[in-house]
Assembly symmetry: C2
Homo-oligomer: 436 residues x 2
């Protein structure tokens, strides 16, 4: 029976739930041949939390996460939040050959290469199922797909924005939907990290790095949030386009001569971006509502796949953390060395080269000729219009909604900038991508 000593850094709601799950699953670990022991915990309020958890005197307690390492645990579970404290804890743990389970997407997105190097240098293992789409066993599923090339990935990775969009779809005004999400604890008081797409971009960075084996930095991921979207966009999209918006993190992979070898000796061409995107009402991603997350994959052999579940919350996150500890225990018992994967190579395609159909809503002053000027701006940039709708003039002007045929992001961006420069068009506008 192998003893596996666990240190937990951070006893917030997820940490406490994970400690309880470790205990209630003791028997399952024993069935595997591992005696899992909680050896040490760190938290700013460690005395109070340890008492609430009923931890025995054998469990070392500290306020300083770094002190956990002196107890020589086999596994460090990092649930601190933030960036600097987790970074130094995880790096030092890995360099000392300890194994790490973390739920910290920000750490992974911003320090991927450093973490992989620390891991590779010492044989430490790093598990992070809880960092992206919390409760969904996604990273493990990717292992079962090893005979496939992942050709594209569409992720609904942020529960807050999805809650807001899907409540708005049901008719709630957008500001009310946001207030509701805040009331339910799904959105922060300052929800800008979510609404701006930054949170989604961090998670997409983790997924892109995992799929390609090469660090795809979050700053390189073009993004646009959902703050421009208004109820009339949802209504129009549903009634006229048979679509509904979702904030999608998208990866598109061109394996070229790499042929899906992973990691690839040849560079993989990657497109990675976060945009509000109109998906057909019949598409499985349209069925992902409220705070749920989903990852939709296009694969070379298994065709389309989707994994759906809760992205956040104490239960789903702790389920992923303890699931990781379970896999880690299995791997430690196997005696196999940690996989030494050579880093892959990825080249990020400039966003301007990315092809899509676009949705654009503008507000024009009711003047003859404005539609013609908009149309010619698009034509000059080579953007082909698929449909154009001009409503009755309202108090603020005439809403014009147009959709394009597939065009490059760059062409569309330049045309839009010219259109917004027309004196007869308001600056405020809405752009979304349209999923084919």
């Amino acid at each position: 029976m192998r003893r596996i000593r666990i240190a937990v850094a951070g006893l917030g709601v997820v940490g406490r739930r994970a400690v309880r799950l470790l205990k209630s699953n003791r028997q399952k670990f024993l069935g595997l041949g591992a005696r899992v022991e909680l050896a040490a915990v760190a938290d700013r309020e460690v005395t109070r939390e340890a008492r609430a958890l009923g931890l025995g005197p054998s469990v070392f307690r500290t306020r300083d996460p770094q002190e956990l390492l002196a107890r020589e645990p086999d596994v460090v579970v990092e649930l601190l939040g933030g960036l600097e404290a987790p970074r130094s804890l995880v790096l030092e743990a890995l360099r000392k050959g300890r194994h790490v389970v973390t739920a910290n997407k920000r750490l992974l997105a911003h320090c991927w290469e450093e973490l992989q190097e620390a891991r590779a240098s010492s044989g430490g293992r790093l598990y992070f199922e809880a960092s992206v789409a919390g409760g969904i066993p996604l990273l493990q599923s990717l292992e079962s797909l090893s005979a496939n090339r992942i050709e594209a990935l569409y992720g609904i990775l942020n529960g807050t924005t999805n809650y807001v969009l899907s409540r708005a779809e049901e008719g709630a005004p957008l500001p009310e939907a946001l207030a509701e999400a805040q009331g339910l604890g799904l959105a922060e008081k300052d929800p800008s990290l979510d609404l701006s797409g930054q949170d989604t971009a961090q998670k997409l960075s983790v997924l892109a790095s995992l799929v390609t084996g090469a660090w795809v930095r979050p700053e390189g991921i073009a993004r646009q949030g959902i703050t421009q979207i208004e109820s009339e966009d949802l209504e129009f999209a549903r009634a006229r386009l048979g679509r509904t918006p979702r904030l999608l993190g998208v990866l598109s992979l061109d394996w070229g001569r790499a042929r899906g070898l992973w990691p690839s000796p040849k560079a993989v061409r990657v497109e990675a971006h976060v945009f509000p995107t109109l998906v057909p009402l019949g598409h499985p991603l349209a069925g992902v509502r409220r705070e749920y997350n989903a990852v939709f994959l296009k694969t070379s052999e298994a065709a389309d796949l989707m994994f759906y579940g809760k992205g956040a919350g104490p239960g789903p996150a702790a389920s992923a953390v303890v699931g990781d500890i379970f896999l880690l225990a299995r791997d430690l018992l196997s005696g196999l060395p940690a996989q030494r994967r050579e880093p892959g190579r990825a080249v990020l395609r400039p966003i301007d080269e990315s092809l899509s159909c676009f949705y654009l809503r503008l507000l024009a002053r009711d003047r003859p000729g404005v539609l013609a000027r908009i149309a010619s701006a698009l034509a000059r940039r080579g953007v082909s219009i698929a449909s154009i709708h001009q409503s009755q003039a309202g108090g603020n002007g005439v809403p014009i909604i147009l959709t394009t045929h597939p065009t490059s992001h760059g062409r569309f961006r330049r045309a839009l900038s010219e259109i917004l420069g027309l004196g007869s068009v308001a600056r405020r506008h809405t752009v979304m991508r349209i999923l084919a």
Copy 2:
């Protein structure tokens, strides 16, 4: 570098695709530390198929699958179809300590216990990802959920019936939708195994046996197919109930004192059945259309999860087979003995105890009092009516559609039998369950 010698029994479309994928993924296996070699193949048309695949002279060929074992392969891939030939091949392989990958749900459902015994006696391993919901990496995902109790499972496990129902939902008459599925190769010429729910029951048996660790026999699974359903049921369900039918295989698990230990020393109470079920239009299962499959789980920690993908077809099935060989290679390299799981215990609840809301469409002769007689039959059995709708009389009589509050299957069944015995009601009727 460990050599892993593979024998493939059955070179149909899935077998040929799997052989090609093994070859094109050679590099990935090498990255793992395994040199995977195709050692032997068996097929009734082995000469023709081996030539088509360009197999070298080092690959042993035979018409008789049993001869494969004489070549002492590490892994036997069983893709024969049928029951008796696969059964004797797989049992003998396992008893000789060989490892087996199979896509054969019928074999697993009908011979679960025998297979597990053969496996346990010799340390052979048995992988069967391709047998249920082909392309979806489901069985592997369940491993990541080890900190959870699976409380319920709702599966769309048969592509043919789902194709028919979702095309009918789009307005196609049901017989046309079936002909379409046959034209696309999604349905057999004799589609009765699919339409009757038998295929779904076999797959549900495999899932139930896996989740509980105890054999849940397919014959014990109550089932009803989709042949009663007509276009007017779909129309009514959509317009009046906001729902649409799916043929669901359902497991409901009461872990009781077993508390999710797996395998459980205490018996788990299992409800397992296959019924056409009306799901809310906003439910993720309603977004599963055409030949796609999905498995929706209710778990103790990770809340609701859904896995979506193609259940059949050469690509998805071969992807699952080669994914299994990949996991098998990893496990063989690990040197860990095959997990010795004690068999679990499961008690199947009689279907009559199962609770549900029901949908019932009847055709009554237009006679005063028939509605009263139907209502009193239901009342006598303690079935509470939620709504009742009587349309204008047509050529054949008056269609009556009613829905019930939650009631036991037994009560509803007895009331229905009394209603169908009324002289004023036609025998032909439609029953569906309603998902809460």
